[in-house]
Amino acid sequence: MIFLKRTLPLIIAFVIGIIAIAIYYIPHQTAQNLQETLARWNRIIASFAFLLGVYSLMHLHAQRIKRQQAGWGYSLFVYLGFAMMLIAAIYNRGNGPLAGQADGGAYDWLYYNVFVPADASMFAMLAFFIASAAYRTFRARTIEAVILLVAAVVVMLGRVPIGELLWSRMPDLQEWLMSVPNMAAKRGILLGVYLGAVATALRIIFGIERSYLGGTEE
């Protein structure tokens, strides 16, 4: 059982990892074909991950309803929304699930009249919370906070026409802040992130990092 649970996945990760890296640098047609096949496999596996996601979501909310946890009523809406969208998509104006989605059916109606406004409203509310949070947190307590505060005000004004109306060079100043100090910091962060990603990938390929296998490391 240890072979199936631990050794075999480690061997698969090592072999596929090495092949995937190697074929990226081999311009031969065979390598290209293999890469295409692997990419297709990945997409098929990714599709199955949706099923896992749906199961996980449904299971989580079923538990909440069963235990009548705080806010369990909202979990009913998860089931309601999921069932309505699923039925509408499968019915597909009488064309069935295998045909392309027909225009103007119940699925479209739900998407445009429920999902889109609900999702957009959630994001729209951010403006209110950002305003309140900015008022409370942007205090010039230290020199670093002053720099952050001035930069934030310049970017906020420079990004909208009212900034140009106040001072014609405001957008240029905003642009400079974004493309010089911001970019330098971002580039440093990105280099660190990607070096970390390379290190993690190598640790997984060589079996040093095993947490993805689940359970405790031995």
């Binding site: 599709s47 008022y135 010039a140």
Partner: protein
């Protein structure tokens, strides 16, 4: 008074934002909109496709309804620009919830410009896989998308018949609200398959894009609602993005106003405490969290 202004109830802040944004939507103010170089680059990149035989632009819809106000106007305006210049447009989605938005954009732009489905445009729909989908498209476009969203064979449609791989597209624009632009499009489509890529992103993402703009991995960038308004200016349209500049300007001004009030009161309070203190030093603990902060 100082303490009250230092701890304004958040509902008052919400009210100011609501009234400010709502009133800015009712009145029309003549605000200057000047297209920035990064936005002009996207416009010119698409304009350069004009006149090429079979010139085709690929639009990737990688956003959901939450980002619709910022990205949908750019999507529609790019389509209109393409259609008006007889450039074909192919759409696809890396986000499943973008499908309806993409269809709405195609319907709106193609109807306005009198363009035909299959001949001038098509929408391929959503497919999972992200990076691997791009690799598949780079190697063999037809194996990645054998059919479009409505089930039409991509070999049969005039718009996709001659496209064999991702590199055959004259220009690609990704409209992104997540990490697909740098994690997928730049890493694979640009670096691997030498695709000319322009981006349209939400304002919150634009600071992350500047390293790629400077390295020219990203040929141009339309960022946020402001970028969308600048694009509307370039295509001589006064649409929802241009109208959106008024409430956005007012919202930014209100936020700055409250930040200024907060800081002025903070310094007044500090001065008052310093004068009241026998040692002449204000207690730092009072300022550590003056609001007891709740967002």
């Amino acid at each position: 008074m100082i303490d009250r202004l230092l701890n304004i109830d958040r509902r008052i802040v919400f009210l100011f934002i609501f009234v400010g944004v709502a009133s800015a939507m009712l009145f029309r103010l003549p605000l200057p909109i000047t297209p920035r170089p990064d936005v002009v680059s996207v416009y010119e990149g698409i304009d350069a496709v004009k006149g090429r035989p079979g010139g085709t632009v690929l639009l990737s819809f990688d956003y959901g309804p939450g980002s619709e106000p910022e990205l949908q106007p750019t999507a529609i305006n790019i389509m209109r620009q393409c259609f008006q210049n007889n450039v074909r447009v192919v759409g696809m989605a890396l986000w499943p919830d973008a499908v309806g938005l993409a269809r709405a954009a195609f319907d709106s732009a193609s109807r306005a410009c009198g363009k035909e489905y299959k001949k001038d445009w098509t929408f391929l729909g959503y497919k999972p896989g992200m990076e691997t989908l791009i690799i598949n498209m780079g190697q063999d476009f037809k194996s990645a998308f054998g059919q479009d969203y409505l089930g039409t064979d991509t070999n049969e449609m005039e718009v996709t018949r001659d496209i064999t791989k991702l590199g055959d597209f004259d220009y690609v624009v990704t409209l992104a609200a997540g990490r697909t632009i740098d994690g997928v499009w730049i890493t694979y489509a640009v670096d691997r398959y030498s695709v000319k890529l322009g981006g349209a992103v939400t304002a919150v993402m634009s600071p992350d894009m500047f390293p790629y703009l400077q390295s020219r991995q990203l040929k141009g960038l339309v960022s946020g609602l402001a970028g969308a308004a600048e694009y509307e200016k370039l295509v001589n349209v006064s649409g929802s993005a241009t109208r959106g500049m008024q409430p956005q300007s007012v919202a930014h001004a209100i936020i700055i106003f409250f930040i200024l009030i907060g800081n002025v009161m903070y310094f007044l309070q500090r001065r008052r405490d310093r004068l009241a203190s026998p040692s002449g030093v204000a207690s730092p603990s009072r300022f550590a969290n003056p609001s007891g902060s709740r967002g």
